[in-house]
Amino acid sequence: MTLRGVSGAAALLVVITLAAIAYKVIDQASSAISIFGLGFLTSSEWNAVTNQFGALDLIWGTAVTAIVTLIIAVPIAVAIGLFLSELAPRRLRAPVGTLVELLAAIPSVVLGLWGILIMGPFLEAHIEPFLSSRLGFIPLFGGTPSNVGLLPACFVLTIMVVPIVASISRDLFDSVPSDLKNGALALGATRWEMMRSVAIPQVSAGLVAAVMLGLGRAMGEAIAVTQVIGDTPRRGWSLFGQADTLASRIASQYQGAATALQTSSLAYLATILLVLSLLVNVSAQVMVRRIRRRMGT
């Protein structure tokens, strides 16, 4: 038993764990896969009485929450990254950066608790009526205000995604050579023009990778989402309505699954989620790798 052998075995364990996760999850889903096939993806039925299950509404819910979350979170996160890297006075950088990162440390179940008991009722009483009276003609803001639904889910996810994307963007902007930044400033660019025309384009591929990681987080979060989204599968445009996502459905139903087929269908949802998260994460990694190679490090 050499250190080389033991540590190599530990490293191998990572690969084995990944393979075992894929195998065990698909294995549990196998009866649902053989009965429903790919039709599972296009059926919106979820009925334990008739034993019919489909994922369409949940895929819809996952897509809407993830997209809306990214639309809100990415500009905020990149702006925070720019602030921390280019604008903040030197003494403020570490403390502000730490505070933003602490936001990511709050357990999702605590955010969900806050979301369902404080933010949800606040949105229902103040924000949603305002949005629906001013912008109600847009389908997203139509419908009756509610304390649970897509909008609170998107806000809770935004709180989780912003710190991740912000700290990666800060590191990216820090990595832009100061010669380039100073060059732009010396040519008479304002600081904003320098960020827009030098800093952001320099790291755009990295920013895309950061957004992908944020997307992975938004898609995969089960607990906080199931606390605030209402657990009612639905395909509709209104952000005020209840809905459900792949991850949150698993969290809300796994224990109470009435039939073996329902349990298997939940594992089928987990399979979809696993495939999506692999796609998103691997492409983010490949992108990061390509940037590193180009920068020669």
Binding site: V14, V109, T190, E193, L273
Partner: protein
């Protein structure tokens, strides 16, 4: 880098507009950072305000009481979280450190790259999927247990520890490595007697961050340790209560007493996690400085 106007600059309406746009965008970026801090403050203050009234000695030393009765605490959940997190740490720290050692000291560059990729992918697997994996692997046949839950939590911790440890190991100066070898020590001996002691602060930091993460995880426990008695359980082959699951279940209860318990449990959990986060952050800054000074 100052925003002062150079006296030689010719001020035209266009340059004035460019400066104004610049100031507005800088204001937007600053307010984004401010917004994040405000949200953090709002969450912390509301959890503290709602939770504090129920945090007392009983809360830590008594078990939950049957529905309808008042009083009681969450001792069983606190003990459960401590035991399960400790077991997960006991699994994840040695394995994670070994992975980092293999990657930085032994692996050919391409293999190291691949393992790094695998770690990143593992870190991206949704925790609810890990829960289902453990359910299929360990729970479906033999029932829920604290051991099954701990293994699930250790999978969540593993990439955190391995990646952070690798970072500090990479910071250890090459001169130290070469010094060890030059004295005739084997590679393994160099790692154990020279490199690990230098990096121990960084490993500790990584452990703190990972423990904070695992202590707050709910999804891996949902299918592995969620059906439990209202008493303190120390048998690791049985399911144990946990703080996150207590918050999760009570947050969806219509009962005000349950919600009160959820807030108090959230306050306890959040305080521990945030304090750990700050300590981890301060330690990592210190380790980095120390290692850089050693260079």
């Amino acid at each position: 880098m100052s925003a002062e106007v150079n006296p030689l600059t010719v001020i035209t309406p266009r340059s004035r507009r460019r400066r104004r746009v610049g100031r507005i965008m800088e204001g937007v970026a600053t307010s984004a950072a401010l917004l994040a801090i405000v949200v953090l403050g709002i969450v912390i203050v509301s959890v503290a305000r709602k939770g504090l009234p129920a945090v007392n000695a009983d809360f830590f030393t008594k078990n939950p009481v049957p529905f309808g009765q008042t009083g009681g605490g969450i001792e069983n959940a606190i003990v459960g979280t401590l035991i399960m997190t400790a077991m997960a740490t006991a699994i994840a720290v040695p394995v994670g450190v070994l992975i980092a050692i293999y990657d930085t000291e032994f692996a050919p560059p391409q293999v190291a790259e691949m393992i790094r990729l695998a770690l990143n992918v593992l870190a991206g697997v949704p925790t609810i999927v890990i829960g289902i994996f453990i359910f299929g692997l360990l729970v479906a046949g033999s029932g829920q247990s604290a051991i099954a839950a701990s293994i699930g939590l250790s999978i969540v911790m593993l990439p955190v520890i391995a990646r952070a440890t690798e970072e500090v190991l990479a910071l250890v100066p090459t001169a130290l490595r070469e010094g060890g070898m030059a004295l005739g020590a084997t590679r393994a001996r160099t790692v154990i007697t020279i490199i690990l002691p230098t990096a121990v602060g960084g490993i500790l930091t990584a452990t703190i961050v990972a423990v904070a993460r695992a202590a707050g995880e709910t999804a891996p426990l949902l299918f592995t340790s969620s059906i439990f008695a209202n008493t303190v359980v120390t048998d690791v082959h049985q399911a144990m209560a946990s703080i996150p699951l207590t918050i999760f279940v009570d947050s969806e209860s219509p009962s005000v007493a349950d919600q009160q318990t959820a807030w108090a449990a959230a306050l306890v959990l959040m305080t521990c996690v945030l304090v750990a986060g700050i300590i981890g952050r301060l330690l990592s800054l210190r380790t980095r400085r120390q290692i850089e000074r050693a260079r």
